[in-house]
Each structure stands twice: as C-alpha cells, then as structure tokens.
Amino acid sequence: MKFTEEHEWLRVEGDVVVVGITEHASEQLGDIVFVELPEEGMTVSKDDEVVVIESVKAASDILAPLDGEIVEVNDVLADNPAMVNDDPTGDGWFFKMKIEDMSVLDDMMDEAAYKKYIG
C-alpha cells in the first residue's frame, strides 16, 4: 500500500489503483455522514477535487492522487458513509482509477514512511 501527504492510501489491484483515506484521516475527520463520489468514466488530473466528505465536524475534499480515469466508485458509501470510519482501508474505499504509468507509485510513501509522516 502507498500513501499520499493528503492522507490517502493507494492499493494496486491488477491494472487499477484503489483509493481511500487512511485510518488516521478518518479519525481526524470524525464520524462521516455523507460521501459524494465522482462519476465513473471521469478523467481526472492529480489534485482535482473528486470526492466530498462531510463529517460531523466539517466538509472536506479528497483530491485525485494521480492523473487517470475513474473506473469504479464505491456506491455503498452513499447509503452507509460510516463505512469509511469502520473500515477505512478495506470496505470504506472511495474509487478505483486506471493510470497510465504504474511506476509513479514507486515515488510515494510506503507504510513506514507514512507512519513517520503523521508522527
């Protein structure tokens, strides 16, 4: 699993990358009550705002971690946004994206580096 400074995780599954937020991020956000997901098939650029999360505290944007195409979204979150708190790195994933060059993942933080990053 790879991590961004925006507290997203990325996991390669075959030829797609699954994206969600880290446990640390879900704890910081608090109870999540609403998730707005992007359209499947949408082409996104790195740092585009692709997901909106509303927690009991505030709204937050989740940015596209890479350039690519959204190929699948986790529709379950529309009715059960608390899944993000319950299982942020498993069933609480946000979307899957196809990227051109998987090698860009090599430059991202691994778990040890991310743990150090959040201190």
């Binding site: 608090g30 109870d31 009550v33 609403f34 707005e36 909106v52 509303e54 009991v56 505290k57 946004p81």
Partner: protein, 377 residues
C-alpha cells in the same frame, strides 16, 4: 494556559478522560471524548450525558430591599420577559435586547425567593455583566458567581444518576430550580438543559466539582459528552446557539422566540414594552417580521452548514436567506439546518434550495424541533 485561554476546574478530568480540547469562547473545552460525536449524541438520547458548561456565566441579581419583585422589575427593563410573574423556584428563558430590538444574549432566569439567578453565555458574559451593572438601578446588586462550576446532566437516565446524590431532584419538574445540600456541598439545580432531553443543570462549588463529576460518571449510564454532541443535540431540539442563530441584528420575533415574550410584556399587557427596542419588537409582533427563523430538512444526506445561501428556485429565482446552523442529526438520521428566510417562505412544507459547493440542492422548510423534547413537565 495556551494563547491566553481559560480552563474550567474540570480541565484535568477532561484530559484524563481522553477529550480532544479546543478553544471555545475563550476557554479550552472538550469537543469530544474517545466515544466520538455521533455516539456521544446517541448516548445522551438513550442514557445520560455529563457536560461541563462551567465556561458559562452565573450571576446573582440581589435586590437590596430583599423583595425579589424589585429585582424582577429591574431586570424587566432589559429583557422582554414577564419576570414579576415568575414564581419562586421557577426558571424562564429570556434574552437581552438592544435599542433596535436585536438580541444581545440569551439567558436563563431563575427566581430563588429573595433574588434572581441568571445563567448567560460564555462568550457574552463580560458584556452582559457590564450591561447589567450599567443599566440596573442601584437597588439591585449584580454579583458574578466565580466560585462555582456548572455541569449539565442530560438524558433519560439523568434523574436516576443524580437522585442518589440529591434526592430532592426527583420531585422537580421541567424549569424548577432548587438549592439542595449534598455531600458535595450545596448544589443549585435546575431541571432544564440544552439538548431537548429531560435533565439538570447543576451549579456546584468549584472545589467540589471534580468529585461530583466523578461520582456521576461512576453511574453506568453516565458518559462525558463534548461540545460537538452538545451542538447536534441542541440543533435537533430546535434550540438556538447565540452568535450563530441569534445576534444583535436579529429580533426575538424574527428568531421565532415570541413564546418567550409573555402577555404582560406585549401590547395591552400590564407591563407592555419597557425594554430596549420595545417599539421594534412590539411592532413586529403586531405586523409580522420580514424574515423568520425556520427549520430546514435537506433532501439526501449532505448537510447544509452555516452560511449556505438559500433560494426560492433551483435555477434563477431570488436569494431568500441563509443557513445559520447545520449538521447531521444522529437521532433523526438526516441532515438538519436552521436559518432565516423571508417570512412568506417560512411556512413548513415550502420547498427551497440551498447552494452547496456551487449546486442548488433541494430542501424543505420544516417545523422545529426536528425531534420532540422529552421534558418532565
């Protein structure tokens, strides 16, 4: 202290209980405990929540004559509430108004036999004290209570948790106030709160506050609750937050708080008017205000938070007001907002639209509260 923030006497207990502390009204206060805002909210509705509200101001208004009526009449010059008609051992909600009829603060006022006891908002307490000292006659002494903490115990299990410490609370009804001696010293108890639940607000000597809080927390049904859940609880209950839903530019009539202005203070009443801005408030009572506070239920799950602009159409149309409080209601399991709209659109059932992230989303004007209160009347 950090950044000049004050702490309540329960600060160390909050930290010990794992609270996340945030700045609020000049104090470091617990916004949540490890349970989290959503569960704390639900816990309070199902069991009992213990809140530290020691940052609020406690003030005694003591008439030198010894006749509480003198204090009542003095305070009536600043609030549009019937205080002469407030019986001993009873409490009423009220607000200070300014010369334009706007609300300077909202407060609770109790008749304690030979004096009045009032509780005001933390952020306003210095201004409120100055206001009282400036305008009340010399015959009415204004004494800030600085040696007491304030706890709120709210929820269906509140009575069971408190009655072992203070047996007299069992006989209290909503808005009763008593002074009762306990092993934690004299407690000033009111059967009221800010959650829409049955419950109590308990003023306790500062040096006994932690012991009392710990004793209450030993009850299996009592959990500490932070400001986060306090906000969603009060919003579900349709209660206003001063500074968000009420401010100096908003009159009690616009704020739909006319129920707190009793007949005696209205046109034709025994003591009609006689408070700052009475001309404006009485005129609005007669003619209706231009805008009104409403409840709002957004469709879907996205909350419409404070500041959300409201419109009378999905496209085009006019801006008709804005949201002043908005959150997700854990008990109603839906987003909820309060706000102000032009009066003709304030009728429950009226469809309106809120602009969230550039999109106008549908919502419906809804009667308040979002959840019915469970007071012991």
């Amino acid at each position: 202290m950090t950044d000049g923030l004050d702490r309540t006497v329960l600060y160390d207990l909050h930290v010990e209980l794992g609270a996340r502390m945030v700045p609020f009204a000049g104090y470091e206060m617990p916004v949540q405990y490890p349970m989290g805002v959503m569960q704390e909210h639900l816990w309070t509705r199902e069991k009992a929540g213990l809140f530290d509200v020691s940052h609020m101001g406690q003030v005694i208004l003591r008439p030198k004559s010894g006749d509480v009526a003198d204090a009542a009449l003095a305070l009536e010059t600043l609030v549009p509430v019937d205080l002469l008609g407030l019986a001993p051992g009873r409490q009423r909600y009220g607000f200070f108004t300014n010369d334009a009829g706007g609300i300077l603060d909202d407060l609770m006022i109790a008749n304690r036999g030979d004096h009045l006891f009032v509780v005001v908002n933390a952020a306003c307490k210095a201004a409120d004290l100055a206001h009282l000292r400036k305008h009340l006659p010399d015959g009415c002494e204004v004494v800030e209570v600085t040696d007491r903490a304030l706890l709120a115990l709210q929820g269906p299990a509140a009575e069971a948790a408190l009655v072992g410490i203070a047996p007299d609370v069992a006989a209290m009804r909503f808005m009763d106030v008593i002074i009762t001696d306990t092993i934690f010293g004299p407690l000033w108890v009111s059967r009221s709160g800010y959650t829409g639940e049955d419950g109590f607000e308990i003023s306790v000597l500062s040096d006994q506050a932690e012991a009392l809080a710990r004793a209450l927390l030993t009850h299996a049904d009592v959990a500490p609750i932070g400001l986060g859940a306090r906000d969603s609880l009060r919003l579900e209950a349709g209660l206003c937050l001063y500074g968000s839903d009420l401010d100096p530019a908003t009159t009690p009539v616009e704020a739909a708080l006319t129920w707190a202005i009793q007949k005696a203070r209205r046109a034709g009443g025994d003591r009609a008017g006689g408070f700052p801005g009475a001309d404006v408030v009485l005129r609005q009572l007669a003619d209706g205000p231009d805008r009104l506070r409403i409840g709002l239920r957004p469709e879907g799950r996205a909350p419409m938070r404070a500041g959300t602009a409201l419109f009378d159409a999905e496209t085009g149309g006019s801006a008709i007001g804005h949201v002043t409080s908005g959150a997700f209601g854990p008990t109603i399991e839906a987003p909820m907002s309060m706000g102000y709209v032009s009066a003709p659109l304030a009728t429950p059932g009226t469809p309106i639209w809120g602009e969230v992230r550039g999109k106008r989303l549908p919502a419906t004007v809804t009667a308040l509260p979002f959840r019915q209160a469970t007071f012991k009347r």
